[in-house]
Point group: C2
Amino acid sequence: MREKQKPAKGFLFAGINVAIKRNGKNDLGLILSETEASAAAVFTANLFQAAPVLISRSRVRSGKARAILVNSGNANCGTGSDGLKAALKTGAALAKHLRIREWSVLLASTGVIGEPLPFQKIINGIPRLVSCASTQGFEDFETAIMTTDTKKKISCRAVKMAGKEVRILGLAKGAGMIQPQMATMLAFVLTDARVKSHALARLLKESVDTSFNRITVDGDTSTNDTLFALANGASRVSLAPGKPGWMNFSKAIKEVCLELAGMIAADGEGASRWFYVQARGAKTRADAEKIARRIANSPLVKTAISAADPNWGRIIAAAGISGAKFNVQKTSLYLISADGRRRLEILKRGARSLKYRGRARENTAARLLSESGFRILFDAGQGQGDFEMLTCDFTQEYVKLNAEYRS
Amino acid sequence: MREKQKPAKGFLFAGINVAIKRNGKNDLGLILSETEASAAAVFTANLFQAAPVLISRSRVRSGKARAILVNSGNANCGTGSDGLKAALKTGAALAKHLRIREWSVLLASTGVIGEPLPFQKIINGIPRLVSCASTQGFEDFETAIMTTDTKKKISCRAVKMAGKEVRILGLAKGAGMIQPQMATMLAFVLTDARVKSHALARLLKESVDTSFNRITVDGDTSTNDTLFALANGASRVSLAPGKPGWMNFSKAIKEVCLELAGMIAADGEGASRWFYVQARGAKTRADAEKIARRIANSPLVKTAISAADPNWGRIIAAAGISGAKFNVQKTSLYLISADGRRRLEILKRGARSLKYRGRARENTAARLLSESGFRILFDAGQGQGDFEMLTCDFTQEYVKLNAEYRS
């Protein structure tokens, strides 16, 4: 049911350059719903929150929105009351130009922290931005939200029900600074279904738990992470939990979130490959999560993976210091190939498996690690707790990119 | 009172190559006390513990030891009961050769996890190792415990009291995989004072809290981390808590631990500079520790520092996601130069300080970050909780070293 590049109905998109970025690339984006849409959002868990996050958090409580104004190149964070005023001015200018209510404009920013937002550039750009808006403009919008991203992150679904069709379009950016509570820097899930805002909010929360909250690039969480969902009803299909079509619709929303999260993990800054880390057999799900996160975030594990080195001692060392309690004598460790057909038992009952000996086995493991999509499976062997993460390796390119980010 | 390279009395040292390492460098080390010494230890908090850790943990409970046998090139971890047997054999061979009791031999290993310990090579090397042992052999010992270390880590003190002198010698190795609960891979604190083992154990614990537990290189903690302390009484000076000389002695022990910890942080794998991270003004000391650790372990902060980039947004983002609760409106951030003479106020009441504007200030900050020993000071502004960490930057060289560690 996947349909590439077919946006949800009733949304207009635009992306232009207003010289926030000095390299001429797009840096101002707009999503406009032709009618008032149900709105929901999930924001960063960081105590430091950017001005647009503070404003949008308050506005989205209304459950309604018409437009989302996004800039890249400046995070508008750590900017105090001046930053709030600047963000409010940009939203007010858009609302005035569109003749919509100010509170129906949601805001998001991404870029360097602590620099004053060049709000006048944004305000001056608004007439041009609005005049560019079109139903097919979502790729322009996507380029306007990208920073260190090397690839566009777009996911579409069409769900057919009773002769009608509901469409979902997901757009995201993010390649680093991605983890624990809420993952992607910015993501937008748009649908032309008619959904009440509280149902949309609940569905969004569930979708985040099984997607964005499971990816990690470098263990840091941004001050600006935002996920917005808008449902504008342009398909004239009404959906609600427990009613016909809801299951398929919610499944498609979750798929879009998972696909966007996967694209972010795969585009980890300087990453050469992405992979799964699964912890199972822990006493509780929380323990499994601790183990999986610790392995997925360990710089030593991630650098070994970048060299396709099956240095499994680093994996068990990470598990052992995760804070989860388990009996080492019951633990096992497996490496599973991307296609699921090879499964190497490395550790058994806390010691190297008899099946894992010699240079040939090491070479098999190295080959398995050299391709994206493999799985590190740590089994604590004492319960039902299970948790899976999606992550990527650490390369010299990661350090280079992040050292030179502002220069 | 610092005296370089003057060991504590009554200890012999040796370091030789027995071909565990293929590059011909020393890989087997011995510390031998001429008489039975009081012994204390602190071990890794990792649930996965190497065979020598399990054995030494049990033996050191006696409070006595005569010898410490250490190998590099193989961690003897994840090796199950075979690993335990192998470690026991090496200790038994040394005990037999020296005609000392088996349980008075402490063991430590460092190197790759999961490979069988080549115990026969060690056993065959013991006669030569013992014949090399001398009071001046501590540099050979030091080279025998080094892995990715680029520098020897040796710290000496002499404490004069009532016409007599007590000496302390500290030896350590460690450059990566160093953090939270217990820091250095391996460290040895030797003194010729006469100290009861329970007093030695308490002093060692205190010294670790203010030294090794405050350094971090990459947030990982090894399966083999071990700190041993031996006090053999060869100086004929008896010391005890509350008695004359104890204050000076305990201060000197702490200084040695701090100096060794500093050497480890400064020798962080591929690090180009080391620095302090201090969190203060938190509600509790535990909160301050969370903030300081999170900043000190953030790959984004560490890569920015490697480029001397005052990208302070990453610092506050790390503080904000540390798990400590604070009111953002009360926070401040300072950068303080290594000599303590420059103090840049960057963040005030949660927003960029009015004093920190423009390219000139940024250049001042960049100069400040380009030299080891500067301090990042985050003030949560709401309590007395204070914690300081010592850490180093993240460079491309770090990734290179850790990707290629086993190849």
